[in-house]
Structures are given as structure tokens and as C-alpha cells.
Amino acid sequence: MRLHSLTLRNFRGVKDRTVRLPALGTTVVVGDNEVGKSSLVEAFGLIFDLPDDSKSTRIRDIQPVGQDVAPEVTAELTLGGRELTYTKRWLKNRVTELAIVDPDGRRTAWTGREAHNEAERLFHDNVDPVLWQTLMVSQGQSLILPTPADAEPLITAVTAESGTPVDGASMPLVSAVEHEYLRYWTRGGRATGDFAKSEKAVAAAELQAAQALKAMEEVQQDIRRAERLTLDLADVDSRLADHLTTVEEVRERKQATDEILLRRDTVRSKAETARARLVNHTRTREERERLLDEVERFTKIDAELAERRTDADTVAKAAAETVQAAEAALTEVIELKDMRRTDVQDAERRVSHLVDQAELERLVGQQTELIDVRARIVTAAAILDKIKVDDGLFAALEDARAAVVEARAALAAGVPEVVVRRLGAEPVELSGKGVEAAQRARVPKELGFDETAELLVSGELVVGVPGQVEVTVRAGGEAATLRSRVDEAVRREKELLKKAGVKDVAAAREQLRKADTASAELQEARRTEKSLTSAGDPGERIAVLTARLGIGADDEDEQSGSKQAAVEGVPGQMSLFEEFVSPLDTLFDDFELPTPPPDDLTGAQRQLDDARAELAGVERLLTEAEFAAAQARKAADEDRSEAQQARARSEIAGERLAAAIDALKAARAVLDDDAVTAAEAEAMAEVEAVLEEFTAVQEQADAAGADQAAGELTDALAVATRMQGERDTLRDALRTTEGRLEQSGRDGMATRRDVAELELAAIRSEHESLRRRAEAARRVYETLGRHRAAAQTKYSEPLQTRIEALGRSVYGPSFKIWLDDDLAVAERELDGVRLPIEALSTGAQEQLAIITRLAISHLVSTGDGSVPVIFDDALGWSDKARLRDMGALLGRAGDHGQVIILTCMPDRYEYVPKATFIKLDG
């Protein structure tokens, strides 16, 4: 379909306007708001939809407000290859006129309802309503993405392009399969509907059947239990009857033996009385014997204690003597110790004397060495005083020598060298001043024959052959300067040699060597002197020691003598301390008078060590003597205490003995000893007589089994009671079980179980049938879905490719889209980011909606079903850059079909190339 022109008269705000549209290309219809742009679209729809006599409110709505005029629309268009001119006027003077020119030029015209019907038929035959609605974007609808799957021209186009037939005829089957699938499954694959209910019903029925089965099994168990209980009850009844017979027999036997037992009890009572009397007499006799024993025992104890008291007194006295002896021994050892200490002190003094003597000898030697050293110091100092050359002066001399050599060398280089040789017989005379001799020669006054003189001339040289020739050689100005430097250097050297008191540098070097030797000698001697006097002046110490050693040897002898006297007078040994006294004796036995003191230090030191060892031995003896004395004192104290206790015990024993004698006397006053013995013997005889009688009765009871009879009866009765209890328990259990069975019979448990199992089987069967159908539905759904998806992917490719091609001109090469089953764009990927359409910005969504429509238009443009693409106010959300790209796209779209854009914002479309702009005035 192509729209060529639209004429509106009395249509909303438009009084009379005709808009002509190019059949191909993009047309932008520009007009302000309310000028009637949207009315063009609306008018085109109404002319085909509503007959001229329509009472629709849509007609009333288009009549200009307040004007009794008839809205009228005329459209010129190409439809199905025919040219149509179609006019319709509503409300007043209604008119419908249709004129058609066929491709072959044949013209046909209709009016009235026929015209309407023919126009409507032609429209419906040639315009796919879905495609028409898809490509005509009303105001405010530009964001809606098209879903063109049902647009036949598009399907035809993609089918033709993809080569994949889209089986429209299968769609009812697809719906039916999906419907069947959804009867059993949710889209997520979970059981639903009757199938899900069936699963639950199976579970419930299984539970119910299991419960019923369990209840019936309990009934069966009860039956078995009741059978068993019946048998057990019969058995226990039988055994109980037998046992009760036994009980009666035991009871009769017991009655027969009860008389014997009564008699035995009487005799037993008599025996107990006699035994009590015997006990009393026996107790009296034992008391008498105890009194007699007590008197005897205390008498013996009293005697023993008296003897022990005497012994204790003796021991105490001996102990006191022992203490005295120990203390005497202790005193002796103390004195011995004092003597030994004196010996040690003497030995120490001798050692000290010998040490002083040795020190004095060493100091004398040291003083001699000191005198020698001091003489060397004086000698060295005198040498040093004589020598004037030191290191500084010697260095200056060497420098001065070098300066002379250096100046002379410069002079030799800077002045002329004259070589004179006598060749003939005539004398050659040489004279002049400032003539420097070379190393080889002095200036001779006259040269001999064939003699040669080589001379450096720094001043003036006259060479003459008397009478014949005289040659004067004069040096230049520089030679004079060099000459003066040499002179200065020589003068400086002489001054320094004079100062050093030597004739040349070699003599100065010798002087310097001698000075170094003397200086080293001086330093070494001074170090020795310092060392020898480091501990003070040896002379002072020699004086001290000489004074100290001036003591005579007689004094030492006197001291030794006094020591010896002090050692004498050691006390003798003590009898009670043999252990202690024995080593003491040895000590005194070995004691000898001291030998003369040794003269050497080693001997004196050894004597000192010996004396100290002896002192230590005596000190150990003293410790032992002190311990022995303490022990003796302690033992004496204990013996004294023991003697006191023995005295006290002896007194107590005497008191007890007296008391025992008094008690025995009192008892005998009541009954003498013989009477006590006789009474006990009499009681004993009585007891023996009664026991003999008791034994006879007991033998009778034993023979009759009297004692066992009571026990047997008790045991038998207990067994009977237990068996009766067992029987009662069984009977109760049987009654309880039978009661349960009676109840289960009333409840019809078996029927319940059968019903439950039948219901379960029926529900399972039904469920299995449902499951098979559900699985079949799923199998079909999935299989068909898989094949559809594959086909969908293939046949949607042309549209997808077209959209992506257009989109890449706007978004760049990374632009991709995915279509859903309705061929609507579902997702977009840009720069690797894939998003659902809903997640895109408003502008992007609108751009994608426009691109999709242009792609659809492009696809269908070659077919008969193509329709114009109409945008009523779009691109309201795009920025400048996007407007440029989208404008280019809209312009290119016009190459393939009719694109009509209605807008009040022409700026948005200024980038549409080759567009026809139509301005609508108000």
C-alpha cells in the first residue's frame, strides 16, 4: 500500500487541507501542536473503518466543536496494484465514493455502502492488520517494541528469505500440546493439577493402607496371643489343681507335729531358767577369783616397783659423776687448743722475717741497676747537645743542594759553549770572566798544542793569539740572570752548611744519624729508670727493711720457749669418756719439743702449715669434747627424772594393794570361798538335767519332721499363691486380648484393610495412567518445543540480521539482538554487555523500536503486503548524536518504502537525508 494524498475537511481543527505524500522516500510532515498532524492518521483509519452513517462516538469526536458541519476525508492510495480515490463524509450530506483504476487502466466506481464494503474488502485483502498496526506508530506509542510474529507479509518474507517454512497450520497443535502439557506440569516442570493431586492422593492412600494393614497385623498378633494365652491358661489351671492337693497333704502333717513342738517349747523354757541361775553363780565365783588375783598381782607389783626405784636412784647418781668427768676433759682440751694457737703465731712471724730478707736483697740489686741507667742518660744527653743538625735543617740543606744543581744546569743550557783548540805553534791565550767550566775542564790560561778547551760562557771570554788575533765571546742578558740564580743557590747552601756546622750535606747526614742513635739510647735509659722507680725509690724501701730486719734472733727463741711452757700441764684422761679420751692420749703422747726454726723461707712456711694442721686437730677434739659433755648432762637429767617416776609408781601400787585386800575381806564376810564354788556346781547339774530332757523331745520332733512341716506348708501356700497369680494374670491378659479382638471385629478391621488396599490400588492405577499421560505430554511438549526452537532460530534470522545491520549503523559493530518467539526483540548486546530490553534506557528502547519497524518495513517492501511506516512524533528521548544516526537511518529507509513522520519538532529530523518536508500551517 502506498498513500498518495489525504484531504481533510471539517475534521477536528482542520477546515480544509490536502497533504500530498511521495510514493517512495521519507516525508516529514511538520506542524505545530493542534494543527492536525495526528488527524491525518486518524482520518485514514476512520475512512476504512466506519461507514458514513456510523453513529460511533468517534465520528462525533472529529466534528469541529460548535460547528454543524460534516467531517469529510478523501484518500488517494495504491492498494493491491490499483489506484483508489476514496471519499467519505459523515453526519450530514453523507457521501461514500470509491473510484478504482486497475493496472490495465480500467476504471470502476462505487458509491454508498457498496463503496464502503468494496473499500473495506480491498483493504483487508491487501493490508495485513498486524503489519499495519505494527508499522503505524501513534503519538505516545513510540516506545512500544513491535511483536510482529503474526504479520503474514513478514512471515512470508522471512520464510522466503530463510528458506524455512513457518508452519502456521501447526499452531493449533502447538497450542494443544502446550495446553496438554500444562494440564500436568508447570512451565518450570513441576507436577500440577490433577497429576499433582494424584501424587498426593497416592501418598495419602499409602499411608491409610499402611495404617489399616498395621491395625490388621495387630489383630492377627492378638489372635496368636489369645491362642497362646488359652493354652497357657489351661496348663496353669491343671498345675494349680495338682498343687492344691499337695498343700492339703502338707497341712495335715503339720497338725500332727504341732503337739511335740508345744512340749519342746515347755522344756526349752525350763532350760533357759536353769541356765540363768548357773550364769549368776558362775559370775559370783569369777568375781571372787578376780579379787584373789588382784591382791596377788598388786603385791607383786609393789615389790617390783620398790626395787626399780632403788636402781633408778643409783643410776642417777652415776650419771651425775659422769657429767663432772666430761666437763673436766673439756677444760683440758681448751687449754691444749690455746697452746697450738701460739705455735701457729710463732711460725707466721718467722715466715714474715724471711720474706723481708729476700725483698731487701732484690731492692739492693735494683738500686745498682738504677745508678747505671742514670749514667747512660747523662752521656746521651751530652751527645745530643753537640749536634746542630736536625731533620728540618737537613731537609733545607738537601733542598739548597738541589737548587744549586738545578741553577747550574739551567745556566749550562742557556749560555754559549765555546770550543777552542790550538792547531799551530802559536800560543793561544784564554781570559775572561763569567766563563763556566764544563764538567770536564777549567779554563786554562793557555792552550797547549792540539789541546782543546770546551767552555760555557756566561760573561765574557777572550781568546787571543798574541799578536795575531783576539776573539771576545760575550754571553747575552739571560745568561747573566742564570748566573745570578746559580750564585744565589750556592750562597744559600753555604749559609745552611755553616748553620749546621758541617762541610757538606754528607757530613750533615752523618751528624743526623748520630743524633738519632743518641736520642734512642736516651729514651731507652729513661724507660728503664722509670721502670725501676715505679714502685718508689728502692733506697727508701731498703731503709725500711733494713730497720725491720735489725731485730735479733734471741727474741724468737724466747717466744718459742714460752710456747713450750704453755703446752705442758695437759690434764689426765677421764674414765667415762674413753671414746673421747683415747685420741687425746695419743695427742699428748706424740707431743715433742719444737725443733729450732729453719733459716730458709720454704722450711719456715712448711713449719707454719704443720702448726696450723695441729691447731685444726685440737679444734676438732674440742668440738667432740663439748658434744660429749652435753650428752652426759642430758643423760643425767633423764636418769634423775626416771628415778622420780619410779618413786611415784611405787607409792600408787601400794595404795592399790591395800584397796584390793579390803575388797576381798568384805566379800568373804558375805560368803566364803568354798560356798561360792559349791553353789555353782549345783546350778550346773540342774542345767545338764534339763538339757537332757530337751534333747529327748527334739529327737521326737526331728523324727516327725515337725520343724519342716511349717516351712513346707508355707512354701506350698506361696507356690499356690504364685500360681494363682499367674493364672489370674493369664486370664486378665486373655480377657484383654479377647476384648480387643471383639472390638476389632466390631470395627471391621479386615474390611477396612481391604478397602484401603483397594483404594490404594485404584489410586495407584489412576496415578500410573496419569503419569503415563503426563510423561507423554512432556515428551511431546519437549520434542515439539525443541524442533520449534530450532526452526524459530532459523526463520527469525532474516529479521534479526536486518535489525542488526541497521542497528550497527547507529551503535557500532558490537551491536547484537536476540528475538523471542513473537519475533520481538528480547535482548540487546552492546560492547559485550547483554541486557534484556526492559533494562535499557528509554531512549535506547525507542531507538530499538524504530529500528525494528524499519527492518520489518525493509523486509516486506518487496512484497505485495507492504504498508507505509508512520511515526507520529518520535525520537523524543534521543540526544544530538543519536538523532544524527537515527536521521540517517530514516532517510535510508525511504529508499525501500514509504516513510511518513509527523512532528512538531522538525529539529529532530534535520539529519534525515533526502527527506521531503511538508509544513502544515495553523
Binding site: V177, D222, T751, V755, V780, T783
Partner: protein
């Protein structure tokens, strides 16, 4: 002088029995049918002048049947105008909790009904003694009939004695019974020794003659298709010297096994005709065994047929163990649907899967075929 006596022999009423293959409605009708058959025994007794009726075991399905079953049984028994002797069998043994000792039974049992609780002979009518061996446990450890005849003296002169026992004979059970069988030779010996003149047996559901004087009456109403001659009551006319036994039908239900081979439209039509000719459809259970293969339209038609017949009959079932009818779709089936594109490809995939032995694919293919046909 004719000393013969006529009585009726029945057994295995198994009142309270349920059948898996019947729906709730069929179940109720079948249960009532078994009671109706009991009532018809009463009519036969009246018609034949029978002096009494004996039922040789398994009167009830369980000892724990529901109260309604007991009460309805009592009502059915009241419709028998002569004395009725009931023998406890393995299903309703005289065990603890037995139905026979329950207050429900004792309160409602008609007075003319006697339950044998021991082996003491009872003179049921003058000149006729009935003696039986009631089961005391469901699992006896020895011949369940022996107690009744072992110590039995020959019948007094002029007395006809009827022995009632319940259990299987080794010759008929093939040794498949879980409990000890009845000693057939001993029974025949008792008959030969004139201790009894007739032995009424129960437990076998088909009417079966063992000897002239030893019979299984069979159940009054069929219970499974395997039973060969159920639904009878035996009219027994017996004397010391003669015996006459006549099965009289009292059952109204049928249980039928039917095998078909299905491979084309004619075979399906033949099956339809077979269904059409069966009488008493509402009281008939059909168990179908089938072999063969059918195209998808025919398979769909078969399923529809079975569904429809299942409504008309008490029940129509495919006998799963013997049902091997398979779909056999061919390209013509698919072409007939005029499908193309993905739908055609999907069906083709399922068809090939079926050809490869995928049973699930066959069911799916049938469904898809039906959906396509209905949608088309």
C-alpha cells in the same frame, strides 16, 4: 419306604469380599450380588423342598468384616426358610476373636441358623445328623477334616449323616495349598463304612464332583475369571442307598478372560462385535489379553472403545501381563495429519524412537497424534 432327604449344599460365600478391578459402584453391586445369590438359595430351598441348607466354610471373607456385612448376611439368611448349618472355614475360623463368638453375630443371627463349633453330630431334622470339622485356626497343622470322622461311629440305623468339611484335596490342589490337605481316601473310607452318607466340601470355588457322595459345591457367585463353574448351589438328595446331586445356578455375575489379536480395522471391529454380544454387561468383568500392533488412528480407536465398554460393563481391563498391542505408526498416518515444519519433524522423531523400541515414545506419539487430529 423312601428314606431319602433333600438338602442344599453351598460354600465360600465370602461375604465382605472386595475386588480390585471393580470401581466403587461395581464393588457395591457385586457385594449385593453375592447376598442376592444367598437369597436365591432360599428360593431354591423353597422350590425344591429342601429340608435344610449346609454351608461348608468361608461364609465370611474375614473374622473382622464390618458390622454392615454381618447384618446384611443375617438378613439374607432369614430369607432361607429352612434350617441352615454354617461351618467355620479358614477365612472365618473359630479362633480367638472369631466372628462366630462375637456379640454382633450372636445378637443378630437368625434362630434357624446353627454354627458348628465342635465335632458333635447334630440332628438337624429327624433322621438326619450333620457333623462337621470347624476350623479353629487359619493355619491348622494337620488334616482339618480328620477330627470330624476319625472317631465317628457308623450312623444309627435309619439316620442319614452328612459330613461337612472345609479344605483342599491333594488331587485337586496340586499340592499348592499352604495347609495340610484333607485325606480323600479317609473320606471315601468313611463313606464306605456308612459313617456318613454325604460329604460336603468347601474351599474350592468351582462346583466339583469328587465322588458320587463327595462334592465341592463351589461359591454361590463367581469371584475370579479362573473359576470354571462357579455360581451354583447343590441340591442333594441322599439316602443310605442312593445319592443324587444337582447343581442349580444361583449366581448372576460373569468374569471373562478374552484374548484378541489386533492388527487392522477388521480385528477391531470383531472385538467391538464380541463386546456387543456379551449379555449382562453391568454384571460382567472382562479381562482382555491382546497381541498385535495398530496404526495410531486404530490404537486411538481401541483406547476409546475400551473406555466406552468400561462404562457399560462392570469393568473392562487390559490384562497387563498379557497385553502386547503396540502402536505402529507409518508415514501415511503422519501425512494424513497434514503437518509440516517442526510439528512434522517432532512426530517423525518420536516415530523413529518408537521403532527403536522406545515404549515411551509410542505413548507420546499416540498423544501427539490425537492432539493433532483434534486440533486439525
Amino acid at each position: 419306604m423312601d428314606d431319602s432327604i433333600t438338602f442344599l449344599h453351598s460354600s465360600d460365600w465370602q461375604l465382605g469380599m472386595l475386588r480390585r478391578f471393580l470401581g466403587p459402584d461395581g464393588q457395591a453391586r457385586w457385594g449385593q450380588g453375592r447376598l442376592d445369590a444367598v437369597a436365591r438359595i432360599g428360593e431354591v430351598a423353597e422350590r425344591t423342598g429342601a429340608a435344610f441348607v449346609v454351608v461348608t466354610g468361608d461364609v465370611f471373607e474375614h473374622n473382622q468384616v464390618e458390622r454392615q456385612t454381618i447384618l446384611r448376611a443375617c438378613e439374607a439368611l432369614k430369607r432361607i426358610p429352612v434350617p441352615v448349618v454354617l461351618l467355620p472355614g479358614n477365612h472365618d475360623a473359630l479362633e480367638p476373636g472369631s466372628l462366630w463368638t462375637s456379640s454382633q453375630w450372636q445378637a443378630h443371627a437368625p434362630e434357624h441358623v446353627i454354627v458348628l463349633t465342635d465335632t458333635t453330630p447334630i440332628e438337624i431334622v429327624p433322621g438326619v445328623e450333620v457333623v462337621g470339622a470347624p476350623w479353629r485356626s487359619r493355619r491348622p497343622t494337620s488334616d482339618p477334616a480328620a477330627a470330624a470322622y476319625t472317631n465317628l461311629e457308623p450312623a444309627p440305623a435309619g439316620t442319614t449323616r452328612v459330613l461337612l468339611v472345609h479344605g483342599q484335596l491333594l488331587s485337586l490342589s496340586g499340592g499348592m495349598s499352604e495347609v495340610p490337605p484333607i485325606d480323600q481316601a479317609a473320606l471315601e473310607a468313611a463313606v464306605a463304612a456308612k459313617k456318613v452318607q454325604y460329604v460336603g466340601l468347601g474351599d474350592r470355588h468351582s462346583t466339583t464332583k469328587v465322588t458320587d457322595r463327595i462334592w465341592f459345591s463351589g461359591t454361590q457367585e463367581v469371584t475370579t475369571p479362573e473359576e470354571t463353574d462357579p455360581g451354583n448351589v447343590l441340591k442333594v438328595t441322599v439316602s443310605q442307598s442312593s445319592i443324587e446331586v444337582e447343581p442349580i445356578r444361583v449366581g448372576a455375575w460373569h468374569m471373562v478372560d478374552h484374548h484378541v489379536e489386533l492388527f487392522d480395522e477388521e480385528s477391531l471391529t470383531a472385538l467391538e462385535d464380541w463386546f456387543a454380544e456379551l449379555p449382562d454387561k453391568e454384571r460382567t468383568y472382562v479381562r482382555l489379553a491382546g497381541d498385535g500392533s495398530l496404526s495410531l488412528p486404530l490404537l486411538s480407536r481401541l483406547d476409546t472403545m475400551i473406555d466406552v465398554q468400561g462404562e457399560a460393563f462392570a469393568s473392562v481391563e487390559k490384562w497387563a501381563k498379557f497385553w502386547t498391542v503396540r502402536p505402529a505408526p507409518d508415514a501415511a498416518d503422519l501425512d494424513a495429519l497434514q503437518l509440516s515444519g517442526p510439528a512434522r519433524a517432532a512426530m517423525e522423531e518420536l516415530r523413529q524412537a518408537l521403532a527403536g523400541g522406545d515404549e515411551g515414545a509410542g505413548v507420546a506419539l499416540s498423544l501427539m497424534h490425537r492432539l493433532a487430529r483434534d486440533a486439525g
